[in-house]
């Protein structure tokens, strides 16, 4: 890129894990170079060691349990590993700045935005109070915060997630650091916000000419922002190169697998499901939350989560409910399963209104409509063995416990898990495996409808693909009807026959997935689609067995 010396040079970095961890080194032999004005993406799945790399550069590893065991980290030619803690303190925030994943938790909730911006300046400059404030407000302006002066006085909980991330960026950039480490900075954000933040990072980095180490798991984001890409697999760097190269022509099998797992934005072929009978029908659903105000205040604000929602789900069909956070999509999934009581409307199944059922009737009806939850850890009772988790439903509905357990073992095979899993506890499984158990549990009751609430959003991309494939297979084999709630348009495109796009509790657009992706009608849908990271990049397709 340029002839100037690299900002950061990592040579043969080794990070040791404590005894008893799944491997001795979190990172082994990492080499990485970042030049000025360059955005280097460090890509990997969870547990690949990518975040520890950032910790090593900042010298903020949780020592002594996790520590650098070898190698060199040279920053502007200086060896960081040789610096004293005091020297490091001078470098942190001033020369190397960091942006974290969770904007909510990464800001001190008890201090105003202004105070936190001020702190960096106070720590590293001799500016007086007025100058610092001017600088802070200038930074807030640069990150495009609407009303910088009032944001300065606000507490983090008083501004939105996107704005908080902007504050984090302002804080990181306020001393024009030479290196910015961004650790999954957009993962927690909605897709439209994500795009804005990515653009912002790009924009500011270009202005400052700083080097950026961008840590992410999302190839879409990589496609959006990276100049260079390094791919980590269980602590080892398997591939490195210019972004375009790696994205479009990956060499290593792992990279290929990862990229191959990224769902393409091409919807499935249209199935003639609309002719099939309707199994689930929602009419005029309405839900308002009487949210409590502050912890101590008695005033309650009403928040409308869903207003006047109507939909139909046909036999064998997958209906996607798509929207950003706060759109009410999750509320929909809870209403139709009657985990939440609805204010008005009907949910009919076999001509019976689920919402009007007595508790006893409802318990019987629940058999027919099962749910797969978002968080595979939280949705499995950690104190129950897998076999009991799966057999629980049938047992509740009167099946002989021994038979139910035998069935449960068979179901494990159906979701491609070894029967040995039956006697284990949930925490002994990986995320994808847990989600398979969740699916098996839903299937155990042989339901007509499965409501899946973001079932893959907590999973790594390769696992995500496998679980999606499993769901699709099962749906086809068992002729299931699926109500699939997701925020991820790529996932929706993969699985859903039809989609409903929701915004602020209302349906703004609905129709066949292919049609909506091809020609979105509503401006919001258009905005959503155009915000998908890496939408212009079509992942090269590999046969799954290519490796």
């Amino acid at each position: 890129m340029t002839d100037t010396p690299p900002i950061l040079q990592i040579r043969d970095l080794k990070i040791a894990l404590p005894k008893g961890a799944d491997r001795p080194f979190a990172l082994e032999g990492l080499d990485l170079t970042i030049n000025p004005g360059e955005i280097v993406c460090l890509v990997g799945e969870s547990g690949s060691g990518k975040s520890l790399c950032a910790g090593a550069i900042m010298r903020l590893l949780p020592e002594p349990h996790v520590h650098v065991a070898g190698g060199a980290i040279r920053f502007m030619g200086d060896e960081l590993l040789a610096k004293t803690e005091t020297e490091m303190r001078g470098i942190r925030g001033e020369d190397i700045a960091m942006i974290f994943q969770e904007p909510m938790t990464a800001l001190n909730p008890q201090k105003t935005v202004g105070w936190q911006l001020d702190e960096v300046l106070r720590l590293h400059t001799k500016m007086n109070k007025a100058e610092r404030k001017a600088r802070a407000i200038e930074m807030l302006t640069r990150v495009h915060i609407p009303d910088p002066a009032s944001a300065y006085n606000a507490y983090p909980h008083q501004i939105s997630g996107g704005q908080r991330q902007r504050v984090m960026i302002a804080q990181a950039l306020s001393l024009s650091p030479k290196l910015i480490i961004a650790d999954e900075p957009t993962t927690a954000l909605d897709v439209t916000t994500q795009l804005q933040i990515l653009k912002l990072i790009r924009e500011l980095q270009e202005q400052e000419g700083a080097g950026v180490l961008f840590i992410t798991h999302d190839f879409g984001v990589v496609a959006e922002i990276a100049d260079k890409v390094a791919v980590l697999c269980r602590g080892e760097m398997v591939e490195q190169g210019p972004a375009k190269e790696v994205l479009n022509n990956p060499q290593h099998a792992y990279t290929r697998a990862l990229i191959g797992a990224v769902p393409a934005l091409t919807p499935p072929p249209v199935k003639p499901v609309t002719k099939a009978p309707v199994v689930l029908k929602g009419t005029g659903l309405k839900k308002t939350f009487a949210a409590r105000g502050g912890l101590l205040s008695g005033k309650r604000k009403a928040v409308t989560a869903v207003k006047d929602l109507t939909f139909q789900l046909h036999q064998g069909e997958t209906l996607g409910v798509v929207g950003e956070s706060g759109s009410g999509k999750t509320t929909v999934s809870r209403i139709v399963t009657r985990l939440l009581e609805c204010d008005a409307g009907k949910v009919e199944m076999d001509g019976k209104d689920l919402l009007a059922c007595s508790p006893a009737e409802l318990r019987a009806m629940r058999k027919h409509i099962q749910m797969v939850f978002q968080d595979p850890m939280a949705s499995l009772n950690p104190r129950k063995r897998v076999v009991d988790l799966i057999a629980q439903g049938p047992i509740v509905h009167g099946v002989d416990p021994d038979k139910a357990r035998a069935d449960a073992r068979r179901l494990l095979e159906l979701v491609e898990l070894s029967p040995a899993a039956a006697n284990r506890f949930p925490h002994e499984f990986s995320g994808g495996q847990r989600q398979r158990i969740g699916i098996a549990r839903a299937l155990a009751l042989e339901p007509k409808v499965i409501v899946a609430d973001e079932p893959v959003s907590a999973l790594d991309v390769s696992v995500q693909a496998q679980v999606l494939k499993l769901l699709a297979d099962l749906r086809d084999r068992l002729n299931l009807s699926l109500l699939f709630v997701t925020h991820d348009l790529r996932v929706a495109a993969q699985l859903c026959d039809r989609i409903i796009v929701m915004q602020k509790g209302e349906i703004v657009e609905h129709g066949l997935t292919a049609e909506i992706f091809a020609s979105p009608q509503h401006p919001y849908t258009r905005n959503l689609l155009s915000s998908i990271p890496g939408r212009d990049w079509t992942p090269p397709s590999f046969r799954p067995d290519a490796a």
Binding site: M371, A378, N381, H397, E416, E428, G432, R436
Partner: protein, 292 residues
């Protein structure tokens, strides 16, 4: 594909083993466990150490310790054997600790679970009752209950349980409030599991760890409360309890300090062991906390 998602990781050791591994990391907790085991052993072997009634006249009153080997730790004002009292006292103290704790936890779990799970007016009513109990100073309530019921050991234990349930109730309530929103509870409801089963079979086992830890606090407090009652001469004199021994030994504190100091040390060590035990349990049941 490099790794298949469906491959199982190697099986983990049984929970008890994991529990013990975590527990033993805390050295203080190991010490606590050791003392606790000792106290339990004392309680169990009391009948062997002294097969007779510990309240009988065993020797010349106020024999100092280590002077007469038939009463190695000396005798008290009425010639009762201090050693035998300490051993039998372990029984009573443990009994009071365990039973009072069970009573407190049982009341606390029921009230806290109902309030936390159902919320709404149930919660309001139950929490008002809890607040009412919490507002009355617990020791004053205890004195009142003992004034009503008399100083029989059964009643004292029950009364201690009754004045100790509010904290576990609040704790259980908080746990239930956070757990009832968890997806596994939704999952159970979605399977058609009844409320009772959800409360006791789904949520309660998950709410237990902090309660188990807190149980050690109640045990400790129960023993201290009993000794405070005995100090005010409201203990049950029909049993040798450490509290009674101190309460009476206090009169001879200046001339025969061992009468109060020996059971006093027993109480301090036992309460200490409960507390350390609690910390160990916390580390073992609550692995969120940093490991050493």
């Amino acid at each position: 594909m490099t790794s298949l998602d469906t491959d199982l990781s190697p099986a983990e050791p049984p929970r008890l083993v994991v529990f013990w591994r975590r527990y033993r990391r805390n050295r203080a907790a190991l010490l606590g466990l050791a003392i606790f085991v000792l106290v339990v052993l004392m309680a169990l072997t009391a009948g062997i150490v002294d097969p007779d009634d510990p309240l009988r006249r065993a020797g010349v009153p106020l024999t100092p310790p280590f002077t007469d080997w038939s009463t190695p730790l000396g005798t008290d004002q009425l010639g009762r054997d201090v050693l035998s009292g300490v051993f039998y006292g372990a029984r009573i103290s443990l009994l009071i600790g365990v039973v009072a704790t069970l009573v407190a936890i049982a009341i606390g779990v029921v009230i806290g679970a109902l309030a936390g799970y159902f919320g709404g007016w149930v919660d309001d009513v139950l929490m008002r009752v809890t607040e009412a109990f919490q507002t009355i100073p617990n020791f004053v309530l205890l004195l009142t209950l003992v004034a009503i019921l008399g100083s029989k050991i059964e009643w004292i234990t029950l009364a201690i349980g009754i004045v100790s349930w509010t904290a576990p109730a609040r704790m259980v309530r908080a746990e239930f409030m956070s757990l009832r929103g968890r997806e596994f509870v939704d999952a159970a409801r979605n399977l058609g599991v009844s409320n009772t089963a959800i409360i006791f079979k789904e949520i309660l086992p998950n709410a237990l760890p902090p309660i188990v830890v807190y149980a050690s606090v109640i045990m400790a407090l129960s023993i201290l409360l009993e000794s405070a009652l005995a100090f005010l001469a409201l203990g049950d004199p029909n049993y040798a309890s450490w509290g009674n021994m101190i309460g009476q030994g206090r009169a001879v504190l200046r001339s025969a300090p061992y009468c109060a100091v020996i059971p006093g040390i027993a109480i301090v060590l036992t309460v200490l062991s409960f507390s350390l035990l609690g910390e160990g349990l916390n580390d073992a049941l609550n692995p969120r906390q940093k490991k050493q």
